[in-house]
Assembly symmetry: C2
Homo-oligomer: 315 residues x 2
């Protein structure tokens, strides 16, 4: 059993109606709902201190939670940060630099820090990032609204973060003065907060999720929640010029995109087959929803193959 | 600099108006505010796997956050739990047992789990427990309302948790079928949720905090936030019969109470000198607020000594 199965089991066993999307939706008042997202970041699993500065880790901690708010079409408002760290990092002013990076991103989206906790750990850093957002009552975009015939879109080129990770594993490092776009995509992801709200306001989006676990996994989450299947057209997946140069082949680019996560673009569906033109948005149609519940197909060079969810899971 | 100083600095440097009490207070609607509390629990710092079962750790994770809501007079409603754990514990069904303990306490206070995150760690367990509560608009009890002449109260006997910790350090263990009250006080703290709300409804409480860091530290938090001082009467501090038997002397009991934390009773002030009788509540008056800003005195056997904050801090 992996963590996704565990959460599903817990949800049914304990009747947890609020659990299952990128954020929990809580009633706020007669016109708005609160969205709440929680993301755990663990040293050596989600980040490495020799790859990322404290500022970059601060940025990332907030960015991944903002991305969850974006994925439901919300406007982020407040955040709560819990951090555990060993004494040596405390003495080395890790926290000051962490919050420099955190507040730089927070000011961009007018997010206010409202609380948190600081703890010592025997070793290793862990962070829990909670972000609260707002959305008009009943208007949060769920994973469960996709229907057969709807088009599948993404907000930007995919696979870049996983390629950046490979470069880091290969020994390359982030250089702030001459930043590599793939490494930057991995270490300094930008959450799609504005476009998430535009998509929600259009009332033309039927389901949405952020690409954190990999296209194959995240699309499977939508298909499962909606009781549908999906067909992806390999030729329509957008890749950046830097990724093409790095990967050298479509096979590698597809592997990075399908099974490597953390692009933090939005993946969503719409009954509109030409939503980009209609909304004047730079988005990419990569496939369509099918009635074949749970079946995800990849069409490439006239052939169709089945796509098992191959993204990241912890257990 | 310890973590309390860091948070104070951050608050002023970044103008964080919501930070500084047991919970952040966020406007919900025209009649209610949301309270949000976050507590990090780290293996080997806040709990040990050879002392506490997964069920007890689940109980504790929720209890400490409920206590923060109680300290502001709120009613807890929702919770979000982020957990990181190593693969071996995942395989050993740690999570199932953790949530058994968690839900047992949650059902007592009608708290709904609305979200969270699960992550693998290289080693060690960490937990971030977030609880959301509600309170009528503007009625949350802050740390900052104590005034000279107000009486200082606690809701129950102190020092028991620190004594239980000493027993555990000394090799004694929790036995569910013949539970030691001091060890139980340490491992299974009960948050004072009902009395916290009763006190708030009375409109006779001027400041409140929960006793998590130790009486000397937590009282110092109230004095600092309120710009006042305090005088405590050693003879009026309530101790349990079990603590008297364990400690053997007033010196030891006072040390456990003043410098050992985690009793999770409430510490509060009121202009009423006889609040227990007036509200028919089993509470204990232990001293009074003085105008001597920042000065905390302990009166014992006719002598007055100054009390430095000696409670737990991480750094």
């Amino acid at each position: 059993m992996n963590e996704f199965d565990f959460i599903r089991n817990l949800k049914y066993k304990r009747s947890l109606n609020f659990v299952g999307d990128d954020c929990a939706i809580l009633p706020k008042n007669s016109t708005e709902d609160f969205l709440i997202s929680s993301d755990a970041l663990v040293e050596e699993i989600d980040f490495r201190l020799d790859w990322a500065s404290p500022e970059l880790i601060g940025h990332r901690a907030l960015a991944v939670s903002l991305s969850d708010i974006a994925a439901m079409g919300g406007k982020p408002t407040y955040s709560i940060v819990a951090i555990g760290l060993p004494t040596a990092l405390w003495q080395a002013k890790f926290m000051d630099r962490f919050y420099d990076g955190w507040f730089e991103l927070a000011s961009k989206f007018e997010v206010t820090l409202v609380g948190g906790d600081i703890s010592r750990t025997p070793a290793k850093v862990f962070i829990d990032s909670v972000v609260i957002g707002e959305v008009p009552t009943g208007k949060a975009i769920l994973r469960s609204g996709a229907e057969a015939g709807h088009s599948i879109y993404v907000t930007g080129p995919l696979g870049g973060s996983a390629a950046g990770l490979r470069k880091l594993v290969g020994g390359e490092r982030f250089n702030p003065s001459a930043s590599d776009p793939l490494i930057e995509k991995h270490l300094r992801p930008m959450p799609q907060v504005q476009i998430g709200q535009q998509l929600r306001k259009s009332e033309l989006v039927s389901s949405m999720i952020d690409l954190s676990d990999g296209l194959s996994s995240d699309l499977a989450h939508i298909c499962r929640a909606s009781g549908v299947g999906a067909r992806i057209y390999a030729n329509d997946i957008p890749f950046s010029a830097e990724l093409m140069e790095f990967a050298g082949s479509v096979d590698v680019m597809l592997d990075l995109t399908l099974n490597g996560g953390e692009d933090f673009e939005l993946l969503f569906t719409s009954p509109e087959p030409d939503l980009g033109s209609r909304l004047a948005l730079d988005i990419f149609r990569i496939g369509e929803i099918t009635p074949n519940s749970g079946v995800i197909e990849l069409e490439r060079e006239g052939k169709t193959e089945l796509l098992p969810p191959g993204g990241f899971h912890h257990f």
